[in-house]
């Protein structure tokens, strides 16, 4: 049977190659993803290893006090140095600029250092620090300058530190440390307390191995300072720490000696410790899992293409299969032959995919390592056996799985078929009732769940935010599967409906439209493959656009002013400054305003800006503008909830008519300000940015303008733009990942067309003989390709909009108003790309068809 299978494969080579490319892409995707995951993990591992400097051993406390461990370690023979690695976090300020910095202690033994001091010297006293060059630049300080450090302490000093909690590994995010160390001691008096101290910058450090890149760099301080900034008083208060040990001589011997001495700590080699740490933080794996999800979509689409191809191949071989049955082949042998063929195809394409995937990963790595500085990247991919085996196995499994149904069709060929005259080969599998029933069940059930998720989200309060989302995702996924299962039932109707107007264009178009309906299952399977990718792409962009629209309102309410420039309280901002800002490119209006600290009833003070209703045009939030026009001040909802009046005081106390809003800064009417006796000094400038201007650029320019003045600039618009940019970037990445699925689907379109061309060879020749020109024939196939692709894109767009809206309604329903938007640009591009791709997909098949000589019409098979 093997020889027969191979012979058949050789005959169907062209067809199989196209299907193989689909699987190859899927396999390459998986390989590249796994390899990238490895690179990320390895990068993390290398960075982690680098944080340990040149330590031979790392002691990780499991229980017990660090100081005791440290002493015991230092007392062990063979240990030349033992230094604690404590990660502290502190905020440094110089003037109005602030930088949050991770700090680690200066080790006594330079071999245990992970940072190099490149300028000045290492800190030697509590009031000294060495900063990364980037932080120093951001703060505008150099060696010898003084900065103010700010940190949080969580209680009065606890007299004894009976810390029962286990010390955590040093991989814990440093920012969480104070919190983690503090609240466990459940004293009622625990309250955060801000502490400040001035420190001198004595040096600049460099991180040659990017050990601390993950933390955004790290500075150096003496151990006591690090501990203090971590919110503790001595080293035993620090939540997560490790002891780095340098060894003289045989480190294995010292290791076992240490293990004997230290019963409440683990002694690991540097590499073991790094591996452990990477495992526990595993950030790369999440990304890999998500991307593998997209790879799975691509594989699913490839499976559809494969199933389609094999269906056609089996149909075309009907006579030969029947002949085999006639001469004594059993059903099992026929099925086995088809599955074997699929298996061979899967393995070959899978292996080719691995090669392509590795090449892509290598290419990406080469580009990245040349362009990205500071991020430690390996220069070559190191393919592991698993990373090469898994894609091949997946590709083979998907291919064989997709061929199961066609293989069954092969067994249904009756031996009599060999005796019948050769007619157009068709596998007439009627869409069964089971299909209809399961499709309806899944679709309706899924849609109900989807709607339920939206309703739950709208009801909102009291329900966990994740619950409606989970229900919605489940429902959406289920209904989509249902629609796909039922595709052979409804897609041909849509193809026919779309084909009708197309048919009116010309005879070629009419033939094309009629051709798409000849084999409804094949057409619908081809379109469906495209539907999957397009649905997901449009869903993501609809979701993103709706998110932007919904969030934009939320942001407008939260930050009603594009940009605010705060001068010194009580001092008027200079006219020159206002003019300077107004002259900045992209600035629309600048309005000087009064500023006050308003005490609300419970005594807490908040910033407030006084705004003349005449200047309300400066506001982005129309609701706030209208409230001001009505003589109501706008106050943060957090003050007192949804009230209409509230009593507040600045110098005087007054009862204000207010409108609560999501803002965190109050907007007072002029009357209210007068009633409260706010200083009549315009110490604030409110800036409106021109629509469409680059808010971040404007912020930068304004900052440059005010550089010499002691003012603070805040820009809600820049923040909003930043958020939007995040959404845009995420969307671009997601669409890029889904693009693979779309490309595979387009290969499917080309494959289907070329199969049709082969099948219709005589027909093409007849058309040529009765007077269809070559161009006409090519156009016919082009129209057919565009019709198939266009319908797929149309259906995908409709479904994508639906699911995108449902998703936006579910996610943002809990937050507030949902704006359902149509990403017109994306939809337009998707449809255009689909049509062009359909055209491109038809190019090769059409060339083949046009080459068919009219004489072929005369031949008898």
């Amino acid at each position: 049977m093997l020889r027969l299978t191979l012979a058949q494969m050789r005959r169907s080579l062209g067809r199989l190659v196209a299907a193989g490319v689909a699987i190859l892409l899927g396999s390459a995707f998986v390989t590249a993803t796994l390899t990238a995951g490895d690179v990320i993990t390895r990068g993390g591992y290398d960075a982690m290893t680098a944080t340990y400097g040149d330590a031979d051993l790392v002691v990780l406390p499991t229980d017990g006090r660090l100081s005791t461990l440290l002493d015991a370690t230092r007392g062990t023979p063979g240990v030349t140095a033992a230094e604690p690695l404590v990660v502290g976090w502190v905020s440094f300020a110089s003037g109005r600029r602030t930088v949050g910095e991770t700090v680690i202690p200066v080790p006594a033994d330079p071999s245990l250092a992970s940072l190099d001091v490149v300028e000045g010297r290492a800190p030697a006293a509590q009031d000294e620090v060495a900063l990364p060059a980037a932080s120093a630049e951001r703060l505008g300080v150099g060696v010898g300058d003084t900065v103010r450090s700010t940190w949080t302490v969580w209680s009065e000093e606890p007299a004894t530190t009976a810390t029962p909690e286990p010390a955590e590994e040093p991989t814990e995010e440093p920012a969480e440390e104070p919190a983690a160390a503090g609240p466990v001691r459940s004293d009622d008096e625990l309250a955060p307390q801000e502490m400040t101290a001035d420190v001198t910058v004595v040096g600049l450090v460099d991180d040659p191995h990017a050990a601390w890149a993950r933390y955004g760099g790290a500075g150096l301080a003496v151990l006591d300072s690090v501990v203090r900034w971590s919110g503790g008083t001595d080293i035993d208060d620090v939540g997560s720490a490790a002891v780095l040990v340098a060894v003289d001589g045989d480190s294995a011997a010292v290791r076992s000696a240490l293990a004997q001495v230290l019963d409440d700590a683990e002694v690991l080699t540097r590499d073991e410790a790094a591996a452990r740490a990477v495992e526990s933080y595993g950030g790369g794996n999440v990304i890999v899992m998500v991307v593998l999800g997209f790879a799975a979509v691509a594989m699913l689409v490839a499976a559809l293409v494969i199933a389609n191809t094999f269906q056609v191949i089996v149909a075309q071989r009907t006579r030969m299969l029947a002949l085999l049955r006639c001469v004594g082949a059993r059903r099992r042998q026929l099925r086995g032959s088809v599955l074997l063929e699929a298996g061979i195809l899967g393995v070959v394409s899978g292996v080719a995919g691995v090669v392509v995937g590795l090449a892509l990963a290598q290419a990406a790595l080469s580009v990245l390592s040349r362009t990205q500085n500071g991020v430690p990247l390996p220069t070559t991919v190191q393919p592991t056996l698993g990373n090469m085996l898994i894609p091949v196995l997946v590709a083979t499994a998907v291919t064989v799985g997709a061929a199961l149904v066609p293989a069954r069709a092969a067994t249904r060929v009756s031996p009599v078929a060999a005796l019948r005259p050769a007619e157009a080969p068709t596998v007439q599998a009627r869409p069964g009732r089971v299909r209809l029933a399961s499709s309806l069940l899944l679709t309706v059930g899924g849609l109900v769940a989807l709607a339920g998720g939206i309703v739950l989200a709208r009801q909102g309060f009291g329900v966990d935010v994740m619950l409606p989302l989970a229900i919605g995702v489940l429902g959406g996924g289920t209904s989509f599967v249902g629609l796909l299962v039922g595709a052979p039932l409804w897609v041909p109707r849509i193809v026919s409906a779309v084909g009708r107007p197309v048919a009116a264009i010309s005879t070629s178009a009419r033939l094309a439209a009629a051709n798409t309906l000849r084999n409804p299952r094949r057409t619908s399977a081809t379109s469906t493959a495209l539907v999957i990718g397009v649905t997901l792409v449009v869903m993501m962009s609809t979701g993103a656009v709706s998110a932007q629209a919904s969030l934009a309102r939320e942001m407008d309410e939260r930050g009603p002013v594009d940009m605010t420039v705060f001068g010194m309280p009580g001092e008027a901002v200079g006219d020159g400054l206002a003019e300077g800002i107004a002259a900045v490119d992209g600035v629309d209006t600048v309005v000087p305003a009064r500023y006050a600290l308003v005490a609300r009833p419970d005594g807490i003070e908040t910033e407030a800006v006084v705004l003349d209703p005449a200047d309300a045009g400066i506001l982005r939030d129309e609701v706030a503008a209208r409230a001001l026009a009505e003589g109501r001040s706008v106050v943060p909802r957090s003050w007192a909830g949804d009230v209409t009046s509230v009593e507040v005081s600045v110098r005087d106390t007054a009862l204000l008519e207010v409108r609560p809003s999501a803002t965190d800064r109050a907007l007072l009417t002029t009357q209210a300000a007068d009633a409260l006796a706010v200083d009549d000094v315009p110490s604030v400038l409110l800036v409106r940015i021109e629509p469409g201007a680059d808010a971040m650029g404007v912020l930068q320019d304004v900052r440059d303008v005010v550089a010499d003045d002691t003012v603070r600039v805040e820009s809600a618009a820049a923040e909003r733009q930043g958020d939007q940019r995040v959404i845009d970037v995420m969307l671009a990445i997601v669409i890029g990942l889904l693009g693979v699925a779309v490309v595979i689907a387009l290969i499917g379109v080309a494959n289907t067309l070329s199969l049709s061309v082969i099948e219709r060879r005589r027909e093409s020749a007849t058309l040529r003989a009765v007077g269809l020109s070559r161009r006409g024939l090519r156009w016919m196939l082009a129209t057919e390709g565009m019709l198939i692709a266009g319908v797929g894109a149309l259906i995908g767009t409709a479904l994508g909009l639906l699911y995108g809206w449902a998703g936006a309604a579910t996610v943002f329903g809990t937050i507030g108003d949902v704006r359902l938007s149509v990403p017109w640009a994306h939809v337009g591009i998707v449809l255009l790309v689909a049509l062009l791709a359909g055209l491109a997909a038809s190019a090769l098949p059409a060339r083949a068809a046009a080459r068919t000589p009219p004489v072929a019409a005369l031949g008898v098979d």
């Binding site: 000849r518 007849t766 009765v770 269809l772 004489v855 005369l858």
Partner: protein, 280 residues
Amino acid sequence: MPTTDTRPHDRSATDGVATASRARALTKVYGSGAAAVRALDAVDVDFASGAFTAIMGPSGSGKSTLMHLLAGLDDATSGTAHLGSTEITTLDDDALTRLRRDRVGFVFQSFNLLPMLTAEQNIVLPLDLAGRRPDRAWFDTLVTTLGLQARLTHRPSELSGGQQQRVAIARALVAQPEVVFADEPTGNLDSRSGAEVLSFLRRSVRELGRTIIMVTHDPTAAAYADRVLLLADGRIAGDIADPTPESVLAGLEGLRVLEAPAGTPTGATPVVDATAGGLR
């Protein structure tokens, strides 16, 4: 190139009857070098307008090749072929396509109807492709003569073989072509349907004034024609006027007899005398 030219202008000097199709020293060689096969060897022949001619010959005699070249379906190696006054051996693909669309009709052995079109759509396809409206009266005449009135909305899969071939004939005639080429039109039909098709082909010549050139290997079918041209080894081997099945059979027998003793020297082409019904 004139697409409206539906009447041949060229007049043969010999008999004063218009020539629909003409070959001069028409030669077709497949392959090259030692493997070269002379499928057609300098054939000179005229086909009269308004006549039903059958081309016969054993397999490999070149009868199909002759038809392909006369119909502009294939390129000649040398020599010329004319359709009416148009030399088709020099036309490019586009011109040939238009020629086939407007001036030539085809009837195939395996019908070659487009499965997704109805009978009526199949019939008017050549006009559709040319962007012309069908002449209603002519269409009705065709459909009535062929007995297809009740079948126009059916698809090919719903028609019998004979019905499909009649649809194909209607398609070949709908554009009122100068010549209809039929390639074994009864090859896939039972004898009754075959007879029906052949009588219609004859009627379309006698009553509708069409010109038909038919390739066949069936002497009974050939006997429906006005003239039978016998081919052997790429040359004209006989010409039978007003054939009967017997005369055609005899002519074919003669070819076999001729071939046996001499080993067929390339030079001498034996010509079968039509009226005698046997060898000269």
